[in-house]
Amino acid sequence: MWQQFRSDLYLNFVKDDRWQYLTNGLKVTLIVTLFAALMGIILGFFVAIVRSTCENTGRLKILNAICNLYLTVIRGTPVVVQLMIIYFVIFASVRIDKTFTAIIAFGINSGAYQAEIFRSGIQSVPRGQFEAGRSLGFNYAQTMLHIIMPQALRVCVPTLCNEYITLLKETSVAGYIALEDLTKGGDIIRSRTYSAFMPLIAVALIYLIMVLVLTRLVSLLERRLARGTR
Protein backbone atom coordinates (compact mmCIF):
# COMPACT_ATOMS: atom_id res chain seq x y z
CA MET A 1 0.00 0.00 0.00
CA TRP A 2 2.84 2.37 0.92
CA GLN A 3 4.56 1.27 -2.26
CA GLN A 4 1.47 2.12 -4.28
CA PHE A 5 1.21 5.51 -2.55
CA ARG A 6 4.82 6.30 -3.34
CA SER A 7 4.54 5.31 -6.95
CA ASP A 8 1.34 7.39 -7.24
CA LEU A 9 3.18 10.35 -5.76
CA TYR A 10 6.00 9.85 -8.19
CA LEU A 11 3.70 9.46 -11.19
CA ASN A 12 1.59 12.50 -10.37
CA PHE A 13 4.14 15.00 -9.16
CA VAL A 14 7.72 13.96 -9.85
CA LYS A 15 7.62 12.32 -13.25
CA ASP A 16 8.09 14.79 -16.11
CA ASP A 17 8.32 17.56 -13.46
CA ARG A 18 4.54 17.53 -13.17
CA TRP A 19 4.67 19.42 -9.87
CA GLN A 20 5.43 22.46 -11.96
CA TYR A 21 1.84 22.44 -13.22
CA LEU A 22 0.84 23.08 -9.60
CA THR A 23 3.47 25.70 -8.75
CA ASN A 24 2.98 27.60 -12.00
CA GLY A 25 -0.76 27.33 -11.54
CA LEU A 26 -0.50 28.57 -7.97
CA LYS A 27 1.44 31.58 -9.21
CA VAL A 28 -1.32 32.39 -11.72
CA THR A 29 -4.02 31.88 -9.07
CA LEU A 30 -2.27 34.27 -6.69
CA ILE A 31 -1.62 36.91 -9.34
CA VAL A 32 -5.20 36.80 -10.58
CA THR A 33 -6.61 36.92 -7.04
CA LEU A 34 -4.38 39.78 -5.93
CA PHE A 35 -4.97 42.05 -8.88
CA ALA A 36 -8.65 41.19 -9.17
CA ALA A 37 -9.03 42.06 -5.49
CA LEU A 38 -7.28 45.40 -6.06
CA MET A 39 -9.38 46.18 -9.10
CA GLY A 40 -12.45 45.17 -7.12
CA ILE A 41 -11.51 47.55 -4.31
CA ILE A 42 -11.28 50.51 -6.67
CA LEU A 43 -14.44 49.58 -8.55
CA GLY A 44 -16.37 48.65 -5.42
CA PHE A 45 -15.34 51.79 -3.62
CA PHE A 46 -16.41 53.96 -6.53
CA VAL A 47 -19.78 52.21 -6.87
CA ALA A 48 -20.40 52.37 -3.12
CA ILE A 49 -19.68 56.12 -3.09
CA VAL A 50 -22.01 56.71 -6.02
CA ARG A 51 -24.78 54.63 -4.46
CA SER A 52 -24.46 56.21 -1.01
CA THR A 53 -24.25 59.71 -2.45
CA CYS A 54 -27.40 59.14 -4.45
CA GLU A 55 -29.18 57.70 -1.43
CA ASN A 56 -28.11 60.57 0.83
CA THR A 57 -28.37 63.54 -1.48
CA GLY A 58 -30.38 62.45 -4.52
CA ARG A 59 -27.55 63.47 -6.83
CA LEU A 60 -25.76 61.30 -9.44
CA LYS A 61 -29.03 59.61 -10.48
CA ILE A 62 -27.81 58.43 -13.88
CA LEU A 63 -24.52 57.13 -12.56
CA ASN A 64 -26.44 55.41 -9.78
CA ALA A 65 -28.72 53.70 -12.29
CA ILE A 66 -25.66 52.44 -14.16
CA CYS A 67 -24.16 51.14 -10.92
CA ASN A 68 -27.40 49.38 -10.03
CA LEU A 69 -27.47 47.70 -13.42
CA TYR A 70 -23.87 46.61 -12.92
CA LEU A 71 -24.64 45.14 -9.49
CA THR A 72 -27.76 43.36 -10.73
CA VAL A 73 -26.07 41.80 -13.74
CA ILE A 74 -22.86 40.80 -12.01
CA ARG A 75 -24.47 39.41 -8.88
CA GLY A 76 -27.20 37.74 -10.88
CA THR A 77 -24.97 35.68 -13.14
CA PRO A 78 -22.30 33.04 -12.43
CA VAL A 79 -18.73 34.23 -12.52
CA VAL A 80 -17.71 31.51 -14.95
CA VAL A 81 -20.26 32.77 -17.47
CA GLN A 82 -18.97 36.33 -17.01
CA LEU A 83 -15.44 35.10 -17.53
CA MET A 84 -16.33 33.40 -20.80
CA ILE A 85 -18.36 36.39 -21.99
CA ILE A 86 -15.39 38.63 -21.38
CA TYR A 87 -13.01 36.27 -23.14
CA PHE A 88 -15.14 35.10 -26.05
CA VAL A 89 -17.55 38.02 -26.51
CA ILE A 90 -16.11 41.28 -25.19
CA PHE A 91 -12.57 40.50 -26.25
CA ALA A 92 -13.64 38.61 -29.38
CA SER A 93 -11.11 38.82 -32.18
CA VAL A 94 -8.46 40.23 -29.90
CA ARG A 95 -5.32 38.39 -28.96
CA ILE A 96 -5.29 39.25 -25.32
CA ASP A 97 -3.28 38.01 -22.39
CA LYS A 98 -5.37 35.47 -20.54
CA THR A 99 -4.12 36.39 -17.09
CA PHE A 100 -5.14 39.95 -17.84
CA THR A 101 -8.56 38.78 -19.05
CA ALA A 102 -9.08 36.79 -15.89
CA ILE A 103 -8.05 39.74 -13.71
CA ILE A 104 -10.57 41.95 -15.53
CA ALA A 105 -13.34 39.36 -15.21
CA PHE A 106 -12.76 38.51 -11.55
CA GLY A 107 -12.07 42.18 -10.73
CA ILE A 108 -15.40 43.24 -12.22
CA ASN A 109 -17.10 40.40 -10.39
CA SER A 110 -15.48 41.07 -7.04
CA GLY A 111 -16.11 44.81 -7.44
CA ALA A 112 -19.84 44.20 -7.31
CA TYR A 113 -19.62 42.26 -4.07
CA GLN A 114 -17.14 44.67 -2.53
CA ALA A 115 -19.37 47.61 -3.49
CA GLU A 116 -22.18 46.21 -1.38
CA ILE A 117 -19.79 45.56 1.51
CA PHE A 118 -18.47 49.13 1.35
CA ARG A 119 -22.00 50.48 1.08
CA SER A 120 -23.28 48.58 4.09
CA GLY A 121 -20.21 49.85 5.95
CA ILE A 122 -21.08 53.44 5.03
CA GLN A 123 -24.71 52.81 5.93
CA SER A 124 -23.67 51.50 9.34
CA VAL A 125 -22.19 54.85 10.37
CA PRO A 126 -24.89 56.79 12.27
CA ARG A 127 -26.48 59.68 10.40
CA GLY A 128 -25.44 62.01 13.23
CA GLN A 129 -21.79 61.57 12.27
CA PHE A 130 -22.55 62.88 8.81
CA GLU A 131 -24.50 65.82 10.23
CA ALA A 132 -21.77 66.63 12.72
CA GLY A 133 -19.24 66.77 9.88
CA ARG A 134 -21.44 68.92 7.67
CA SER A 135 -22.34 71.26 10.55
CA LEU A 136 -18.65 71.96 11.14
CA GLY A 137 -18.40 73.16 7.55
CA PHE A 138 -16.99 70.09 5.82
CA ASN A 139 -18.45 69.57 2.38
CA TYR A 140 -19.90 66.23 1.34
CA ALA A 141 -16.62 64.80 0.04
CA GLN A 142 -14.58 65.97 3.05
CA THR A 143 -17.17 64.54 5.44
CA MET A 144 -17.03 61.20 3.65
CA LEU A 145 -13.24 61.22 3.58
CA HIS A 146 -12.43 62.31 7.13
CA ILE A 147 -15.41 61.10 9.12
CA ILE A 148 -17.57 58.48 7.43
CA MET A 149 -15.00 56.40 5.53
CA PRO A 150 -12.60 55.68 8.40
CA GLN A 151 -15.50 54.41 10.49
CA ALA A 152 -17.08 52.52 7.60
CA LEU A 153 -13.83 50.79 6.66
CA ARG A 154 -13.34 49.58 10.19
CA VAL A 155 -16.74 47.93 10.03
CA CYS A 156 -16.22 46.27 6.67
CA VAL A 157 -12.62 45.05 6.85
CA PRO A 158 -13.51 41.58 8.18
CA THR A 159 -16.27 41.10 5.59
CA LEU A 160 -13.96 42.36 2.87
CA CYS A 161 -11.30 39.85 3.84
CA ASN A 162 -13.85 37.07 3.59
CA GLU A 163 -14.70 38.30 0.12
CA TYR A 164 -11.02 37.97 -0.83
CA ILE A 165 -11.01 34.40 0.46
CA THR A 166 -14.08 33.66 -1.64
CA LEU A 167 -12.42 35.32 -4.62
CA LEU A 168 -9.34 33.12 -4.23
CA LYS A 169 -11.52 30.03 -4.48
CA GLU A 170 -13.65 31.40 -7.30
CA THR A 171 -10.65 31.93 -9.54
CA SER A 172 -10.58 28.14 -9.85
CA VAL A 173 -12.86 28.44 -12.89
CA ALA A 174 -10.12 30.28 -14.81
CA GLY A 175 -9.45 27.04 -16.67
CA TYR A 176 -12.57 27.70 -18.73
CA ILE A 177 -10.58 30.20 -20.78
CA ALA A 178 -7.61 27.83 -20.90
CA LEU A 179 -5.75 29.82 -18.28
CA GLU A 180 -3.56 27.46 -16.31
CA ASP A 181 -4.33 28.32 -12.72
CA LEU A 182 -3.93 25.96 -9.77
CA THR A 183 -7.08 23.97 -10.51
CA LYS A 184 -6.30 23.69 -14.20
CA GLY A 185 -2.77 22.63 -13.27
CA GLY A 186 -4.26 19.75 -11.31
CA ASP A 187 -6.56 18.96 -14.24
CA ILE A 188 -3.63 18.76 -16.61
CA ILE A 189 -1.84 16.33 -14.31
CA ARG A 190 -5.05 14.34 -14.11
CA SER A 191 -5.29 14.19 -17.88
CA ARG A 192 -1.71 12.91 -18.05
CA THR A 193 -1.77 10.35 -15.27
CA TYR A 194 -5.42 9.32 -15.33
CA SER A 195 -5.52 9.29 -11.57
CA ALA A 196 -7.99 11.46 -9.77
CA PHE A 197 -6.91 11.18 -6.16
CA MET A 198 -3.44 12.71 -6.02
CA PRO A 199 -3.88 15.80 -8.20
CA LEU A 200 -7.30 16.73 -6.81
CA ILE A 201 -6.32 16.23 -3.18
CA ALA A 202 -3.11 18.18 -3.72
CA VAL A 203 -4.99 21.06 -5.31
CA ALA A 204 -7.58 21.00 -2.53
CA LEU A 205 -4.87 21.01 0.12
CA ILE A 206 -3.10 23.99 -1.42
CA TYR A 207 -6.35 25.99 -1.49
CA LEU A 208 -7.15 24.90 2.04
CA ILE A 209 -3.75 25.98 3.36
CA MET A 210 -4.04 29.38 1.67
CA VAL A 211 -7.54 29.89 3.04
CA LEU A 212 -6.47 28.85 6.54
CA VAL A 213 -3.56 31.29 6.48
CA LEU A 214 -5.80 34.10 5.23
CA THR A 215 -8.49 33.30 7.80
CA ARG A 216 -5.88 33.46 10.53
CA LEU A 217 -4.71 36.85 9.27
CA VAL A 218 -8.28 38.11 9.21
CA SER A 219 -8.92 37.11 12.80
CA LEU A 220 -5.70 38.81 13.89
CA LEU A 221 -6.75 41.94 12.02
CA GLU A 222 -10.22 41.78 13.56
CA ARG A 223 -8.75 41.62 17.03
CA ARG A 224 -6.53 44.63 16.33
CA LEU A 225 -9.45 46.60 14.99
CA ALA A 226 -11.58 45.67 18.00
CA ARG A 227 -8.86 47.10 20.20
CA GLY A 228 -8.91 50.35 18.22
CA THR A 229 -12.61 51.04 18.66
CA ARG A 230 -13.49 52.17 22.13
Binding site: P126, G128, Q129, E131, A132, R134, S135, L136, G137, F138, N139, Q142, H146, I147, P150, Q151, R154, G228, T229, R230
Partner: protein, 254 residues
Protein backbone atom coordinates in the same frame (compact mmCIF):
# COMPACT_ATOMS: atom_id res chain seq x y z
CA UNK B 1 -16.09 88.93 6.03
CA UNK B 2 -15.33 88.54 2.37
CA UNK B 3 -18.84 87.83 1.28
CA UNK B 4 -20.38 90.71 3.15
CA UNK B 5 -20.59 92.74 -0.01
CA UNK B 6 -24.19 91.97 -0.93
CA UNK B 7 -27.46 93.18 0.45
CA UNK B 8 -25.79 95.69 2.76
CA UNK B 9 -28.47 98.23 3.39
CA UNK B 10 -28.59 101.41 5.40
CA UNK B 11 -30.22 99.96 8.47
CA UNK B 12 -28.43 97.59 10.77
CA UNK B 13 -29.01 94.01 9.70
CA UNK B 14 -29.74 91.33 12.30
CA UNK B 15 -27.18 88.47 12.53
CA UNK B 16 -29.82 85.99 11.44
CA UNK B 17 -33.05 87.01 9.78
CA UNK B 18 -35.61 84.29 9.06
CA UNK B 19 -38.08 85.41 6.44
CA UNK B 20 -41.31 83.45 5.82
CA UNK B 21 -39.56 80.13 6.42
CA UNK B 22 -41.55 77.03 5.48
CA UNK B 23 -40.75 73.37 5.78
CA UNK B 24 -42.89 70.41 4.95
CA UNK B 25 -42.16 66.73 4.49
CA UNK B 26 -44.46 65.72 1.66
CA UNK B 27 -47.96 66.74 2.78
CA UNK B 28 -46.94 67.10 6.40
CA UNK B 29 -46.34 70.75 7.25
CA UNK B 30 -43.71 71.12 9.98
CA UNK B 31 -43.02 74.84 9.85
CA UNK B 32 -45.31 77.44 8.36
CA UNK B 33 -44.42 81.01 7.54
CA UNK B 34 -41.90 81.67 10.27
CA UNK B 35 -40.28 85.11 10.40
CA UNK B 36 -37.90 85.99 13.19
CA UNK B 37 -34.73 87.99 13.75
CA UNK B 38 -31.83 87.08 15.98
CA UNK B 39 -29.37 89.81 16.92
CA UNK B 40 -25.76 89.49 17.97
CA UNK B 41 -25.51 88.55 21.64
CA UNK B 42 -29.05 87.19 21.79
CA UNK B 43 -29.58 84.04 23.81
CA UNK B 44 -32.78 82.65 22.38
CA UNK B 45 -34.44 79.63 23.96
CA UNK B 46 -36.98 77.83 21.80
CA UNK B 47 -39.48 75.79 23.78
CA UNK B 48 -42.55 73.86 22.79
CA UNK B 49 -44.19 70.45 22.90
CA UNK B 50 -42.50 67.57 21.11
CA UNK B 51 -43.37 67.44 17.46
CA UNK B 52 -43.86 71.19 17.34
CA UNK B 53 -40.99 71.64 14.87
CA UNK B 54 -38.39 73.14 17.26
CA UNK B 55 -35.55 70.93 16.07
CA UNK B 56 -36.56 71.31 12.45
CA UNK B 57 -36.50 75.10 12.86
CA UNK B 58 -33.01 74.97 14.35
CA UNK B 59 -31.73 72.55 11.70
CA UNK B 60 -33.10 74.81 8.96
CA UNK B 61 -30.92 77.64 10.28
CA UNK B 62 -27.78 75.90 9.00
CA UNK B 63 -29.64 74.00 6.30
CA UNK B 64 -29.13 70.55 7.77
CA UNK B 65 -32.80 70.49 6.86
CA UNK B 66 -33.48 72.05 3.50
CA UNK B 67 -36.26 74.69 3.85
CA UNK B 68 -39.07 74.27 1.35
CA UNK B 69 -39.89 77.97 1.29
CA UNK B 70 -38.77 81.37 2.52
CA UNK B 71 -35.31 82.75 3.16
CA UNK B 72 -32.73 82.78 5.90
CA UNK B 73 -30.25 85.64 5.92
CA UNK B 74 -27.04 85.53 7.85
CA UNK B 75 -25.01 88.73 7.90
CA UNK B 76 -27.36 89.84 5.15
CA UNK B 77 -26.60 86.92 2.86
CA UNK B 78 -29.37 84.56 1.81
CA UNK B 79 -28.04 81.13 2.83
CA UNK B 80 -30.98 79.44 1.09
CA UNK B 81 -29.73 80.70 -2.25
CA UNK B 82 -28.24 77.69 -4.07
CA UNK B 83 -25.27 79.79 -5.16
CA UNK B 84 -24.32 80.58 -1.57
CA UNK B 85 -21.44 78.50 -0.25
CA UNK B 86 -23.31 76.91 2.63
CA UNK B 87 -20.19 75.14 3.89
CA UNK B 88 -18.50 78.49 4.61
CA UNK B 89 -21.57 79.69 6.47
CA UNK B 90 -21.75 76.57 8.54
CA UNK B 91 -18.23 77.32 9.77
CA UNK B 92 -19.69 80.42 11.41
CA UNK B 93 -22.59 78.47 12.96
CA UNK B 94 -21.53 75.99 15.59
CA UNK B 95 -23.96 73.17 16.24
CA UNK B 96 -24.39 70.92 19.27
CA UNK B 97 -26.52 67.80 18.94
CA UNK B 98 -28.65 65.88 21.37
CA UNK B 99 -26.54 62.76 20.75
CA UNK B 100 -23.17 64.63 20.94
CA UNK B 101 -22.01 63.05 17.65
CA UNK B 102 -18.32 63.13 18.51
CA UNK B 103 -16.15 61.24 16.06
CA UNK B 104 -15.55 57.91 17.82
CA UNK B 105 -12.45 56.98 15.78
CA UNK B 106 -10.49 60.09 16.80
CA UNK B 107 -8.97 61.27 20.05
CA UNK B 108 -10.59 64.25 21.74
CA UNK B 109 -7.79 66.51 20.50
CA UNK B 110 -8.25 65.28 16.93
CA UNK B 111 -12.01 65.83 17.24
CA UNK B 112 -11.30 69.43 18.18
CA UNK B 113 -8.55 70.28 15.69
CA UNK B 114 -9.72 68.43 12.56
CA UNK B 115 -12.08 71.10 11.25
CA UNK B 116 -9.94 74.19 12.04
CA UNK B 117 -6.91 72.56 10.43
CA UNK B 118 -8.67 71.27 7.33
CA UNK B 119 -11.05 74.17 6.78
CA UNK B 120 -9.39 77.27 8.17
CA UNK B 121 -5.75 76.48 7.43
CA UNK B 122 -4.87 76.77 11.08
CA UNK B 123 -1.57 75.11 11.95
CA UNK B 124 -1.66 72.07 14.18
CA UNK B 125 0.21 73.95 16.92
CA UNK B 126 -2.22 76.83 16.83
CA UNK B 127 -5.28 74.59 16.68
CA UNK B 128 -4.08 72.50 19.61
CA UNK B 129 -3.21 75.56 21.66
CA UNK B 130 -6.70 77.00 21.20
CA UNK B 131 -8.35 73.62 21.81
CA UNK B 132 -6.33 73.17 24.99
CA UNK B 133 -7.35 76.60 26.21
CA UNK B 134 -11.04 75.77 25.68
CA UNK B 135 -10.60 72.30 27.21
CA UNK B 136 -9.19 73.91 30.32
CA UNK B 137 -12.19 76.18 30.55
CA UNK B 138 -14.59 73.22 30.53
CA UNK B 139 -12.33 71.29 32.89
CA UNK B 140 -11.40 68.44 30.52
CA UNK B 141 -7.81 69.28 29.58
CA UNK B 142 -6.61 65.96 30.99
CA UNK B 143 -8.79 63.97 28.57
CA UNK B 144 -7.23 65.31 25.39
CA UNK B 145 -5.83 61.92 24.35
CA UNK B 146 -8.89 59.89 25.30
CA UNK B 147 -11.43 58.56 22.81
CA UNK B 148 -15.05 59.75 23.02
CA UNK B 149 -16.26 56.29 24.05
CA UNK B 150 -14.17 56.54 27.22
CA UNK B 151 -15.99 59.67 28.38
CA UNK B 152 -19.30 60.11 30.21
CA UNK B 153 -22.24 61.67 28.40
CA UNK B 154 -21.79 64.99 30.17
CA UNK B 155 -18.10 65.07 29.30
CA UNK B 156 -18.85 64.17 25.67
CA UNK B 157 -21.38 66.97 25.38
CA UNK B 158 -18.93 69.48 26.84
CA UNK B 159 -16.36 68.29 24.28
CA UNK B 160 -18.98 68.66 21.55
CA UNK B 161 -19.53 72.28 22.59
CA UNK B 162 -15.77 72.88 22.54
CA UNK B 163 -15.54 71.25 19.11
CA UNK B 164 -18.02 73.75 17.74
CA UNK B 165 -16.27 76.63 19.51
CA UNK B 166 -12.90 75.70 17.99
CA UNK B 167 -14.23 77.05 14.68
CA UNK B 168 -14.74 80.45 16.36
CA UNK B 169 -18.39 80.63 15.28
CA UNK B 170 -20.58 83.72 15.36
CA UNK B 171 -23.59 81.82 16.59
CA UNK B 172 -24.09 78.54 18.43
CA UNK B 173 -27.07 76.31 17.74
CA UNK B 174 -28.04 73.83 20.47
CA UNK B 175 -30.45 71.02 19.63
CA UNK B 176 -31.77 69.72 22.98
CA UNK B 177 -28.21 69.45 24.32
CA UNK B 178 -29.17 67.90 27.66
CA UNK B 179 -32.00 65.58 26.63
CA UNK B 180 -29.82 62.51 26.21
CA UNK B 181 -27.96 63.00 29.48
CA UNK B 182 -28.38 61.34 32.83
CA UNK B 183 -29.88 63.91 35.25
CA UNK B 184 -26.69 64.29 37.27
CA UNK B 185 -24.77 65.38 34.16
CA UNK B 186 -27.20 68.03 32.97
CA UNK B 187 -25.74 70.64 35.33
CA UNK B 188 -22.17 70.48 34.01
CA UNK B 189 -23.34 71.05 30.44
CA UNK B 190 -25.70 73.88 31.34
CA UNK B 191 -22.96 75.57 33.29
CA UNK B 192 -20.71 75.58 30.22
CA UNK B 193 -23.58 77.07 28.22
CA UNK B 194 -24.13 79.71 30.90
CA UNK B 195 -20.47 80.71 30.68
CA UNK B 196 -20.84 81.05 26.94
CA UNK B 197 -23.86 83.27 27.31
CA UNK B 198 -21.98 85.39 29.79
CA UNK B 199 -19.30 85.91 27.10
CA UNK B 200 -22.00 87.34 24.83
CA UNK B 201 -22.01 84.42 22.42
CA UNK B 202 -25.11 84.48 20.22
CA UNK B 203 -27.01 81.28 21.01
CA UNK B 204 -30.17 79.58 19.78
CA UNK B 205 -31.12 76.80 22.18
CA UNK B 206 -33.86 74.26 21.67
CA UNK B 207 -34.46 72.94 25.15
CA UNK B 208 -36.78 71.49 27.76
CA UNK B 209 -34.77 73.09 30.58
CA UNK B 210 -37.16 75.84 31.69
CA UNK B 211 -34.83 76.80 34.50
CA UNK B 212 -32.05 77.50 32.04
CA UNK B 213 -34.40 79.44 29.78
CA UNK B 214 -35.60 81.58 32.65
CA UNK B 215 -32.13 82.23 34.00
CA UNK B 216 -29.93 82.62 30.94
CA UNK B 217 -32.03 83.54 27.91
CA UNK B 218 -32.87 87.11 27.01
CA UNK B 219 -35.66 85.89 24.71
CA UNK B 220 -37.86 82.84 25.03
CA UNK B 221 -39.94 81.71 22.08
CA UNK B 222 -42.79 79.23 22.19
CA UNK B 223 -43.21 77.13 19.07
CA UNK B 224 -46.37 75.08 18.61
CA UNK B 225 -47.94 73.59 15.51
CA UNK B 226 -45.16 74.84 13.26
CA UNK B 227 -45.42 78.50 14.18
CA UNK B 228 -44.15 80.83 16.91
CA UNK B 229 -47.16 81.41 19.14
CA UNK B 230 -45.60 83.73 21.65
CA UNK B 231 -42.25 85.24 22.53
CA UNK B 232 -40.92 87.50 25.23
CA UNK B 233 -38.32 88.21 27.86
CA UNK B 234 -38.22 85.25 30.25
CA UNK B 235 -39.56 87.03 33.34
CA UNK B 236 -42.69 88.23 31.55
CA UNK B 237 -42.95 85.09 29.41
CA UNK B 238 -43.06 82.65 32.31
CA UNK B 239 -44.95 84.87 34.76
CA UNK B 240 -47.67 86.12 32.46
CA UNK B 241 -48.16 83.86 29.46
CA UNK B 242 -50.77 85.40 27.16
CA UNK B 243 -51.92 82.58 24.91
CA UNK B 244 -53.95 79.63 26.11
CA UNK B 245 -51.61 77.22 24.37
CA UNK B 246 -48.57 78.52 26.21
CA UNK B 247 -50.44 78.53 29.53
CA UNK B 248 -51.45 74.97 28.85
CA UNK B 249 -47.88 73.95 27.95
CA UNK B 250 -46.28 75.69 30.93
CA UNK B 251 -48.89 74.12 33.17
CA UNK B 252 -47.64 70.71 32.08
CA UNK B 253 -43.89 71.25 32.25
CA UNK B 254 -43.42 73.56 35.24
Amino acid sequence: MAQDNTQVTGQKEALIRVDHLEKHFGDHVVLQDISVEIDRGDVVCVIGPSGSGKSTFLRCLNRLEEPTGGHIYMDGIDICDPTTDIDRHRQKMGMVFQQFNLFPHMTIMRNLTLAPMKLQNVSQREAEAYATELLERVGLADRRDAYPGELSGGQQQRIAIVRALCMKPEVMLFDEPTSALDPEMVGEVLSVMKDLAAEKMTMVVVTHEMGFAREVANRVMFLDGGDFVEEGAPAEFFAHPKSERLKNFLGKVL
